[in-house]
């Protein structure tokens, strides 16, 4: 505006009074005034151009670079108070849904009795007397009921009671119910994790809308759970544990502990149901430990496939007798000790290798320390201290050292997968991510162990676990549980640990039944071979197609080459009598 006025105002220089000044002087002054005006005008023009350029720059040119004042809602993921938990294929295991919670401001409630009448009619599970007392109190805020269903919300809304209102809250939903209840866990009324992944990832789940992907595969989990439940039902067990591990990555595709519960309503859980048998429970595993004992023997270099040991007589140690179940009562080679599951032979092998080497291998296999897994329910192994010779003897066949099934799976995985210990995990690994591992046994030992495991399935106690097309190798185990001061012959842990395809092991399966009872079909036996191995076989037969494992002809020459021991012992004879030992493992 200033510039406009300058131009518009008549300048005194433009109209000089004639005759009053020297015309030359006046002309000079006029010239000077003009040039001043030009300079001033140029300055103003420059200033305006600068402002104009600035305006264009600010409004037209800088649009993209300038921070948006208007914030658009990020598309895609809803920012909830707690992120979803999904399985490895994206199936939702836990999610947060908005729901309404009912509260009241008692000072605004006109007639507490009438309001309580109406509310209990709409929500029958409310306690009438407590509600009247709450509504008559002189507080300004009382919860009436948390996390209503939409139907309940509608019913209460229809009543139109003054002083009663809804508060938006998030409700944790587990759409697949009990499927992975022990792994996923559950949350309390204020959405704080109280178990499993919900507890250990409590902070992480609150921080990000990104769903947490577990290594669990809902299909595999269901398969294992179904077959485990069938085995428990058939043999009237009190519980069971089942796991499937990817041997290349250490991911657990299934982690089942039965009995389980519905995490949507985790009220009044008894200890047996809440107990995670796969990772919190520690058990004497029995004969599956002979995998480690044989690996120990091969690793020592003192014992080979053709070494043989005297299993003629039971071994007496103090007041204990170590004998064999269906004993052969003769000298046995190392593979024979393994497939007939000879305790006597195992003890002799362990004694030849020595206590220190045994202890060192067990430590390397992670059997002596608390395993690391992403849930808080992890049991501490029960390690003998001091580790005497008697402990060396009993541990050789799986007694005297209690470990969790999780530890067993991780350690056996290391023996089978080529000798590299990989940390089991419940989180999905990216396929490209390198998997770290520590070598615990040599590849040669691992290869020999795979052949021996195959032999147990073709000729030993785990024949029921054979799944045609998938070359299964495995070992059964039966251990008596300690009740009170001694071993109880009636309460057992029967298990099967198997890997397939054993010539190129990809998956490891563990089935464990707690306190199975023999049936007429099994001639009263409740051993791992009768109870757990058939379930393991059924799991593998369905797991292979599900995970796209290529079925092969088991008699193909290259497969036989890869899995057969050079000298296969004579086939096992059926039947037999129960060994008279007080410490039996078979």
């Amino acid at each position: 505006m200033t510039a406009l006025r300058l131009h518009a105002q008549p300048s005194p220089i433009d109209a000089p009074a004639p005759g009053r000044r020297n015309p030359r002087k006046a002309a000079a002054a006029l010239e000077q005034g003009r040039s001043r005006l030009v300079v001033t005008a140029a300055m103003f023009a420059f200033a305006f151009v600068a402002v104009g350029v600035g305006l264009v720059d600010a409004t037209v040119l800088r649009q993209g670079a300038e921070p948006d004042i208007a914030q658009a809602q990020p598309a895609g993921l809803l920012q909830t108070g707690r992120a979803d938990i999904v399985d490895r294929n994206g199936a939702v295991l836990a999610t947060s849904l908005a729901s309404a919670s009912l509260y009241a401001d008692p000072l605004l409630v006109i007639d507490p009795v009438e309001a309580a009448d109406k509310l209990t009619a709409a929500l029958p599970d409310l306690d009438y007397d407590a509600l009247v007392r709450q509504l008559a109190s002189d507080k300004r805020f009382v919860w009436i009921k948390r996390k209503l269903t939409p139907r309940e919300q509608y019913a209460v809304n229809r009543l139109g009671i003054p002083g009663v209102a809804f508060q938006r809250e998030e409700r944790r939903i587990y759409p697949l119910g009990p499927l992975a209840s022990h792994t996923v866990g559950f949350t309390g009324v204020d959405n704080d994790g109280l178990m499993g992944i919900e507890q250990s990832f409590d902070q992480a789940l609150r921080g990000t809308p990104e769903p947490l992907a577990l290594s669990i595969d809902a299909r595999v989990q269901h398969l294992v759970r179904r077959e485990l439940q069938a085995a428990i039902d058939e043999f009237s067990g009190i519980g069971g544990a089942g796991m499937v591990m990817d041997l290349e990555t250490g991911e657990l595709l299934a982690q089942v502990s039965l009995p389980d519960f519905d995490p949507n309503a985790p009220m009044n859980l008894d200890e047996n149901t809440r107990f995670n048998r796969t990772s919190l429970g520690v058990y004497e595993m029995g004969s599956t430990f002979k995998i480690f004992n044989s690996a120990l023997a091969f690793e020592s270099g003192k014992i080979g496939l053709s070494s043989s040991f005297d299993a003629t007589h039971p071994i007496r140690v103090g007041r204990h007798t170590i004998g064999d179940f269906r004993g052969k009562n003769r000298w046995l080679t190392v593979p024979e000790i393994f497939i007939y599951s000879s305790n006597i032979g195992s003890v002799r092998m362990a004694l030849e290798v020595g206590t220190e080497a045994q202890r060192a291998l067990m430590a390397k296999l992670g059997l002596l320390s608390r395993p690391s897994i992403e849930i808080p329910e992890v049991g501490m192994p029960m390690v003998p201290n001091p580790w005497r010779e008697i402990n060396t003897m009993t541990i050789s066949f799986g007694h005297g050292l209690s470990v969790s099934p999780l530890q067993l799976v991780a350690a056996a995985g290391a023996i089978i997968n080529g000798g590299v210990m990989r940390q089991p995990t419940l989180l999905r690994r990216d396929p490209g991510e390198p998997v770290l591992g520590e070598r615990v046994v040599s590849p040669q030992t691992s290869a020999m162990m795979r052949r021996m495991l195959r032999l147990v399935v073709t000729e030993g106690s785990a024949t029921a676990a054979a799944a045609p097309g998938y070359v299964v190798g495995g070992k059964t185990g039966t251990a008596e549980k300690i009740t009170g001061r001694g071993y109880n012959r009636k309460s057992r842990i029967s298990s099967f640990l198997g890997a397939f395809p054993i010539h190129d092991p990809k998956y490891l399966v563990l089935v464990m039944i707690d306190e199975p009872k023999g049936t007429a079909r099994t001639h009263g036996f409740a051993t791992g071979g009768w109870v757990a191995a058939p379930a393991g076989g059924r799991i593998i037969a369905q797991l292979g197609p599900m995970l796209g494992v290529e079925p092969v002809d088991e008699n193909r020459p290259d497969i036989r080459q890869a899995v057969d021991l050079f000298a296969a012992p004579a086939p096992a004879t059926g039947g037999g009598t129960t060994g008279g030992s007080t410490l039996a493992s078979y």
Binding site: A72, V92, P175, P551
Partner: protein
């Protein structure tokens, strides 16, 4: 001359202010629209969240297995029915006549019926699922060997027996007794 300049500037100022006010109202309008859209997005996202939960609930393997047992003659697929890689498919014998390896897709929406082996039918597999489990003819598992991470559908304890171009997933589960 002076008047003209003044008028030009006044007109310019008037135009500028009209444009300014117009823009300002437009911005307000857009702000309201943005807020409404943001609310709508949150509503939609919540609805998606609910639908995702429901999808997962409906895909509960226990439920699907029960449905499959009650309404279809399908059972869990066995090793004999799986072809994990293309290399495993043998080449067609040169003299064989008939359609390509996988014949035409079944009519979408049609309930799968036991395929009758016909002469001249594909030598390997028909796209119609072979429901007779004892049949020696294998079904082609069209899924890749590796389950892809992004698969939105939990295929609970099931195998995709055939994936015709129509996009129907014929699944099989349950225990075949």
């Amino acid at each position: 001359m002076i008047g003209k300049t003044t008028i030009i500037w006044l007109v310019l100022a008037a135009v500028a202010s009209v444009v300014l006010f117009h823009t300002s109202y437009r911005v307000q309008e857009l702000d309201l629209r943005l807020a409404a859209l943001n609310r709508e997005i949150i509503r939609e996202q919540e609805a998606i969240q609910v639908l995702k939960a429901e999808w997962s609930f409906l895909n509960d393997p226990i439920r699907i297995e029960r449905l499959a047992r009650d309404y279809t003659p399908l059972g869990p697929s066995g090793p004999a029915q799986i072809i994990a890689s293309v290399e495993q498919i043998p080449f067609r014998a040169p003299e064989a006549e008939g359609p390509a390896l996988v014949s035409a897709a079944p009519v979408p929406g049609r309930k799968p019926a036991p395929a009758l082996p016909e002469a001249g039918e594909s030598r390997l597999a028909s796209a119609e699922p072979d429901i007779d489990m004892r049949s020696a003819e294998p079904n082609i598992d069209m899924r890749s060997a590796e389950p892809t991470a992004g698969t939105p559908v939990a295929l609970p304890s099931s195998q995709v027996v055939a994936l015709p171009p129509g996009g129907i997933l014929l699944t099989s589960f349950g225990r075949q007794q």
